[in-house]
């Protein structure tokens, strides 16, 4: 065990700081405190005595360099360094060489409030432009599909249909069944008070077919498949798989992007249909148990009062929602930069943005259809 210490005493009218043993980052702080207590202005000269120093690490070396510099800045003070250990000298020189080479790290300029707003607005503008570029590329490639059916990647589309839709049947069915159950249950309570039990059919039929099923399905798919698109394409970008595809002449738009979008546009209407069936079934169960409306009665009235157009309005929204979800998911995947954190960031963004876009789109449809009298 080395005995390390700092002896401070006056020798020949000069202040001597004698370091013994080791000077490392473990005992630096203690020495610093002792040295801070000293008043160098009263001294005529200082000797930094390293002759008894057995080991010096880089932290200690930087400490000595800074101490010496501070003392030398006081012009009336004469500073001497006593040292004969070559290892210690090497270490001091190493730090000195580095210190001379590097200027202070520049502090980043402070950004003002207004400038910040401007920067964010401009970044969002650039983001919007790049999304437009993406949409443009998509349509160019869609044309390519239309020119010759040979260009359509049927195998990839089939794979994506299975991956992002068929495997989602279960969760979409279950969610929709529960939503139908809940909506019916809440309405049943209100309707019973007025003795308007039979109107459960209209309430359910129109709300589920027109709005609830398409929205619920789109939200489940955005959370399930949209996020998967972002994560998959993002990871492929980081591992340079996308670059590799491009250099091999496999256009990622044809091999990755179009199949995903087409697959989702084909299957989302089908999923909405499944969701319609399941939600109405959920409603029927509640109508039967709570309102004593038999299944036969429910279905009879259903075909009388719920017009077919409501069903088609719901289904017709499918491809539009699918396009938004897939396009935003893939676009976000392509926005991933070379770090893993941006996968998480973009996946979150993709889900939030696609659900938001779906709801905006739904609102636009709602106004348009109502004004058109559909």
């Amino acid at each position: 065990m080395h005995y390390s210490s700092l002896d401070i005493r006056h020798i020949d009218n000069r202040l001597s700081l004698k370091f013994r043993g080791e000077l490392t980052l473990y005992n630096l702080a203690k020495y610093q405190k002792d040295i801070d207590k000293l008043d160098f202005d009263k001294e005529h000269g200082v000797v930094l005595d390293l002759s008894q120093l057995t080991f010096l690490d880089t932290a200690g070396s930087i400490f000595l360099y800074n101490l010496k510099k501070k003392l030398q800045s006081n012009s009336s003070l004469h500073v001497d360094l006593l040292c004969d250990n070559s290892e210690v000298i090497d270490m001091l020189e190493l730090v000195m060489a580095q210190k001379i080479k590097f200027k202070d790290i520049l502090q980043p300029r402070k950004v003002g409030f207004l400038e910040n707003i401007g920067r964010i607005a401009y970044q969002n503008y650039l983001l919007f432009l790049s999304f437009m570029v993406f949409i443009g590329e998509l349509f160019a490639h869609k044309m390519y599909y239309l020119v010759s059916p040979k260009n359509i990647r049927f195998k990839e589309i089939a794979f994506e249909i299975n991956e992002s839709a068929i495997k989602a049947f279960g969760i979409v069915a279950l969610t929709s069944f529960l939503i139908g159950l809940v909506v019916a249950y809440q309405s049943a309570h209100q309707l019973k008070m007025y003795g308007a039990n039979i109107f459960i059919v209209e309430v359910l039929g129109i709300s589920v077919l027109r709005e609830l099923s398409p929205l619920i399905t789109a939200i489940v798919i955005a959370g399930r498949s949209g996020s998967a698109f972002t994560a998959q394409i993002g990871a492929m970008k980081i591992t340079q798989e996308l670059d590799a595809m491009q250099t091999m002449g496999f256009d990622p738009y044809r091999f990755l992007v179009m199949p995903k979008i087409v697959a989702l546009m084909i299957t989302l209407p089908i999923l909405i249909f499944v969701s319609d069936v399941m939600a109405i079934m959920g409603g029927m169960v509640v109508a039967n148990l709570e309102l004593n409306i038999t299944t036969n009665l429910f279905l009879d009235r259903f075909s009388d009062v719920v017009a077919l157009k409501h069903f088609f309005v719901g289904i017709a929204k499918g491809p539009f929602f699918a396009f938004l979800i897939a396009a935003i998911g893939i676009y976000r995947g392509m926005q991933v930069r070379d770090d893993t954190q941006s996968i998480g960031f973009n996946t979150t963004k993709s889900v939030v943005e696609s659900i938001f876009a779906v709801i905006i789109c739904d609102a636009v449809f709602s106004i348009a259809f109502t004004n058109l009298g559909i």
């Binding site: 591992t239 340079q240 798989e241 670059d243 590799a244 595809m245 491009q246 250099t247 091999m248 002449g249």
Partner: protein, 248 residues
Amino acid sequence: MMDNIIEVRGVKTSFEERIIHDTLTLSIPKGSIYGLLGPSGCGKTTLLREMVMLQEFSGGEIEILGHKLGKIEYKEAMELRQQWGVLFQSGALFSSLSLKDNIALPLVEYSDLSAAMINEIVKFKIGIVGLKQEDANLYPSQISGGMRKKAALARALAMDPKLLFLDEPTSGLDPISAREFDALILKLRSLLNLTIVMVSHDLQSVYDTLDKVAVIDNKKIIYEGDLKNILSVENKFIKTFFKGMGRI
């Protein structure tokens, strides 16, 4: 003109305000192994990415196999891409496909060969890069870094390209595998009559394999030519990097 397979003329690159390349000019002769050298961050990999059309340059022109990249048509670009192979630093094998399928992919997409024929070709490529046939069914996540590079090289060679781009082929390999890889590259060059363009930091590999080098420093080409005369250039990077060359 036919003896140069790649001509880079006055290429400029800048990211926003930061200038990476300021009028680079170099030419890569047919059949040579050409190295892009320089300190980290000097834009070697950027230049390589520009050559393989992964990145756009802001000025000048690059001509590869007679195609000018500046205003290349979609179809022309697709044809050009089938004539080269690229080996990425990390291999960039498709993680969802086995080694066999990775190598077969370009063949399946671009040729009308029968499945049996493709299988034969894949076997040959696996053999030529020094992988074992029984590794063919493994996935990229199941194999070592050296094997991954070899498999990626096999994929790059699948279409028998005339031109091969290698981005730090020996980085991340142990010295023995790195020397094996160098020997493999030399063997392939003579076997398949390839032109190889590589970015490298490995002095031994530079010395063993390269015929001609270009050194990029401070946004410019500071040297282009063979390795014999390189020490005559007064430059800190060259002096430090090639200091030990006499001893090897």
